[in-house]
Amino acid sequence: MSTLAANAPGAAGGGLSDVAASEATLRRFLHGLPGVDQVGLESRAATLGTRSIKTTAKAFAIDLAISMIDLTTLEGADTVGKVRSLCAKGLSPDPGDRTAPQVAAICVYPDMVATAKQALGSSGIQVASVATAFPSGRAGMPVKLADTAEAVAAGADEIDMVIDRGAFLSGRYLEVFEEIRAVKEACERPDGSSAHLKVIFETGELQTYDNVRRASWLAMIAGADFIKTSTGKVAVNATPPVTLLMLEAVRDFRAATGTQVGVKPAGGIRTTKDAMKYLVMVNETLGDDWLSPHWFRFGASSLLNDLLMQRQKLSTGRYSGPDYVTVD
């Protein structure tokens, strides 16, 4: 990126911290990023969606997809019992076939973190907590930071924060930048380690692809470990074009700064076919370096059972039906 070549010494944090010196420099930088052509982006995403993933490739991709799932429950009606059963599902997705991999993480509200942590024990499955007045983000900073700190204190390995879309859409980029910075600080634990920070843009509310590209760079410069599309709580959540755009952003960010950032599409990804399309996009945009749960996640709930049904179909040659996979 020519816009970056001048100030990309390759330091951590992107070496781009100076672009956030003021509202004006940050705006200039974000608006200086190459534009996104809607028609071209959508047609590229659609073309990648026509890849035909069969047999061995499908088996590999199904297991990879399962291992990338942030198995999620974010309901007002969540209970300790519900979260425990979701954790059990994540630990052993297919009780009839122990070769099925574990999911990457269980994603819950902050007050359920302790429950999930206890249920998962030393399994290696991460506990991700949404925070910062999820999903709207409409609360004061002290509340958002307390929300984050509480989840971290309860043992959350990962924090999924939401940006203030109102501030972003009004062009108050520096405010969003500082918000992400502050939440990242709140992710620090007393022992000096940190919970990983995923930054949710709620792309359905940002409306334009140019906004998604700017939000991606803004979050990465501010120190996001992951950039995430959506909360799953609005009308339009993850879409292939938005995700493709974010994949291009992390690719260019690593090229400019040397720092690798992960991507998480969330909301509305329900079928194996959908998941395959996303993995193809990762494969052909970023290659092997991002094809792992360290760098790519699916925020999903019903996707897991569809993957398991397809997995059973591959191993037995027959569809078994929804009663042969467990509800959580």
């Binding site: 990309a8 390759g10 071209g40 991709a61 690719r251 690593r254 040397g258 360290h294």
Partner: protein
């Protein structure tokens, strides 16, 4: 989730950090069944007066699958007598066909369009086998457009009074149509649909390396109950084409193909009463300004030159990139070219198929050698090519100047020549500095710049922030040595009307 912070030795440009592909996620073969192409006969005659007939000559040609070099079928080398029979049949059918109300002609065209849709998988597979292009393209590009052209011109058949050519415009008579091998069925559709909608009858000669889908189309004409003689298909090489265009019973000639052949046809027809439309070669400039949407520009460049192995008259074969963004654009383009999948055209994941013929491969090879000798820098991604068949890696030449052959001559293969410019005026000057003038592309996020540039480009089709997009409603054709006349849209009717 152990996040490793990269060290200070980390490379910082996209080129130094290629997309790593150690084959973690290798796509398994996803072959389309060759059997889906339906039965391919061992030998074919012509389609004249609604019947499949043997040639009056004894010479036969072979068509091969360019991906395997295996012979698919024999077909007849049309003689002057064959051509004469076909023209007579078309002449005989013309009286009734042209007298039909437009709404009746429309019914036949709609029926043909629907049958094409119903048989689209069969036609897509057959086209891929005969031509060498990937099934992904025949399935997603060629066949939908073929059906769309028939639907579109079916709609015009009863509305010719309102096409802007006065009341009750008359057809010309018998149209001789000679088409190329790069989009065999799509070029047939571009020719046959407007000719039939306007009340003409046709004699069509498909290219000698790709006759199979045209012969299958003949079956579809019978299936649709099209009156005998309205569509006639005579196969053969350039000799058959010359006999057809020279035939005195022909009222209209439409040719798509190379500029030298087009020039020969124009000479042949000079001084006769025949109406002529030509769609010939091109050397399109794809202009990328420094404020272009870069990721999409890269996709557009790839689609512009590698669609159909670059066997496209309007291919974006000259990339004109503004100097200030050339490095990052070329890095991104090379990275993208590294992901192109070259191989079996019937594999659903193949992006680039086979070169159509040994002759074409030789031409591409010769011109790329010339490019190297002239001092341009050649680059192609590492990729394994199949053993049998005709293949060519997607190739990029940088450091090209307007004086190089590879910037002036049509290569008609997956070869992109990259030139640079400093100002918009220079871009326009270089883009127009070609004997051709078929198409051009403009990439910029600034609307006024699109309009400024498009107004100055001397090309029949100018795409803005996209490339190689076709639609039956949009007229297509060239300036200068790219030919004259338009196909598609309302303008496409004029070539077949006595106006």
């Amino acid at each position: 989730m152990a996040k490793t912070k990269k060290t200070e030795t980390e490379p910082t440009t996209a080129a130094e950090q290629p997309v790593r592909r150690s084959g973690l996620f290798e796509y398994a073969p996803a072959p389309e069944s060759p059997a889906a192409a339906g039965e391919i006969a061992t030998s074919y005659g012509h389609f004249i007066g609604g019947e499949f007939v043997d040639s009056l000559g004894s010479e036969a040609l072979k068509t091969v699958n360019p991906a395997t070099e295996q012979v698919l079928a024999e077909f007849a080398q049309g003689t002057e007598q064959d051509v004469d029979r076909a023209v007579q049949a078309a002449r005989k059918a013309f009286a009734d066909w042209s007298a039909l109300p437009g709404s009746e002609r429309a019914k036949f065209l709609f029926r043909i369009a629907r049958i094409i849709q119903e048989r689209s998988r069969e036609l897509a597979v057959l086209e891929s086998i005969d031509n060498g292009k990937p099934i992904r393209e025949t399935r997603d590009v060629d066949l939908p457009l073929v059906a769309a052209h028939f639907f579109y011109y079916a709609g015009w058949a009863d509305k010719l009074d309102f096409a802007g050519y006065g009341a009750n415009p008359r057809p010309l008579g018998v149209a001789a149509q000679v088409i190329p091998w790069n989009f065999p069925l799509l070029m047939l559709a571009w020719k046959v649909a407007p000719a039939l909608a306007t009340g003409n009858t046709v004699v069509l000669k498909p290219a000698e390396t790709t006759p199979l889908t045209a012969l299958r189309f003949a079956e579809i004409c019978r299936q649709a109950g099209l009156p005998k003689g309205v569509v006639n298909i005579v196969t053969g090489d350039g000799r058959t084409g010359a006999a057809l265009t020279a035939h005195p019973g022909v009222d209209k000639v439409a040719f798509t193909g190379s500029t030298p052949v087009g020039r020969a046809i124009a000479k042949q027809l000079a001084g006769t009463r025949k109406k002529l439309s030509l769609e010939l070669g091109g050397k399109a400039a794809n202009i990328v300004f420094d404020d272009a949407p870069l990721d999409q520009a890269v996709e557009g460049i790839v689609n512009g030159i590698f669609l159909n192995q670059g066997h496209v008259c309007c291919a974006g074969s000259r990339l004109l990139v503004q100097e200030s963004v050339q490095d990052e654009l070329l890095d991104a383009l090379k990275r993208r070219m590294g992901t192109l999948r070259v191989g079996d055209p019937l594999d659903k994941n193949t992006d680039i198929g086979a070169i159509n013929s040994a002759e074409q491969l030789a031409r591409i090879t010769e011109l790329t050698s010339a490019g190297e000798q002239e001092g341009a820098e050649r680059w192609a991604p590492e990729c394994e090519l199949p053993g049998a068949g005709y293949w060519f890696r997607p190739t990029l030449f940088t450091g090209v100047s307007q004086a190089h052959r590879i910037a002036r001559e049509e290569i008609f293969g997956p070869v992109l020549s990259v030139l640079t410019f400093r100002t918009p005026a220079e871009a326009v000057e270089k883009a127009n500095n070609t004997p051709y003038g078929l198409s051009a592309g403009i990439w910029t996020e600034k609307g006024s710049r699109i309009l400024w540039t498009a107004n100055r480009l001397r090309a029949g089709v100018v795409w803005a922030n996209t490339f190689n997009k076709f639609d039956p409603t949009s007229p297509f054709g060239g300036y200068k040595e790219s030919g004259y006349g338009r196909e598609g849209g309302r303008h496409g009717l004029e070539a077949y009307l006595d106006v």
